[in-house]
Symmetry: C2
Subunit: 154 residues, 2 copies
């Protein structure tokens, strides 16, 4: 899947991503970076609205999971079940949110649950700003559920 | 401040609120209810995007704090510092987010900090769906900081 493909998918399926001026900078199985314009996401202080920062970080994590599960034979639905976010510095310009892959151990545990039960949960992180001193730190837990006829008897 | 005044303020200062189809249903010093249309916030599952649910809950809490501090002589800036959200059920139609006032004890502690130091933090909660069995539960911490010439020496 190319950055253009993911961008098209987001615009078609989550139209707010277009209204927010989001574009896909890069994607791999280890990392997804989304860019967002400040202007459509501005707040009363002329900085980025916290709800927008959360939405872009959520999409970066969701996209990373989507890209990884797309490579599997089995199809999965992905939904967010909970998240936490911390805002350390205001964001005063166009910004990028980067999601990063969890540990291999965590991923293997998640894949084993998917293969055994057809469902599983995983927590992914994203940041806005510098990775070592982020303006925003996000942590979201996502549930994946097998869909379509599959090897699972349900 | 009337619901119309708050709605105008949100549209002018946080334009994404308009793009999301948010309107102000009611506001008081105890509770703010915002309504949002499903269509501009739809996701790949034809339910409300988690990032949108978070944004509406954030605005409901922010508005409740804004309305309460607007009544004070001193002017304050309000920013969100962190939040947690749990998604229990998908939201499949237009939805309302209601923020609810914290305990009087918590509020008094916050106001005492504002009066003593010109700054303080407070945590407010919001829900989407039924209060006793919410589809979405949100908890956000906000910082308020005194601005403009005031009784404070800074």
């Amino acid at each position: 899947m190319s950055p253009e493909d993911l961008e098209k998918y987001l615009y078609e399926n989550i139209p707010l991503s277009k209204a927010m001026g989001i574009s896909v900078v890069s994607l791999s199985s280890n990392k997804v970076t989304l860019k967002s314009l400040l202007q459509p996401n501005i707040n009363h202080k002329k900085t980025a609205f916290g709800g927008s920062l959360n939405a872009v970080a959520t999409l970066a994590c969701w996209s990373l999971l989507y890209v990884n599960l797309l490579a599997k034979k089995q199809k999965y639905e992905i939904v967010i079940t909970q998240s936490q976010i911390a805002f350390s510095k205001s964001v005063q310009a166009d910004f990028e949110a980067t999601s990063v892959m969890c540990s291999e151990k965590e991923w293997n545990r998640f894949m084993a649950a998917l293969e055994r039960k057809g469902k599983g949960r995983i927590t992914l992180e994203a940041f806005i700003g510098q990775i070592d001193k982020p303006s925003v730190s996000f942590r979201g837990t996502f549930a994946a559920l097998a869909v379509e006829p599959s090897i699972f008897p349900f």
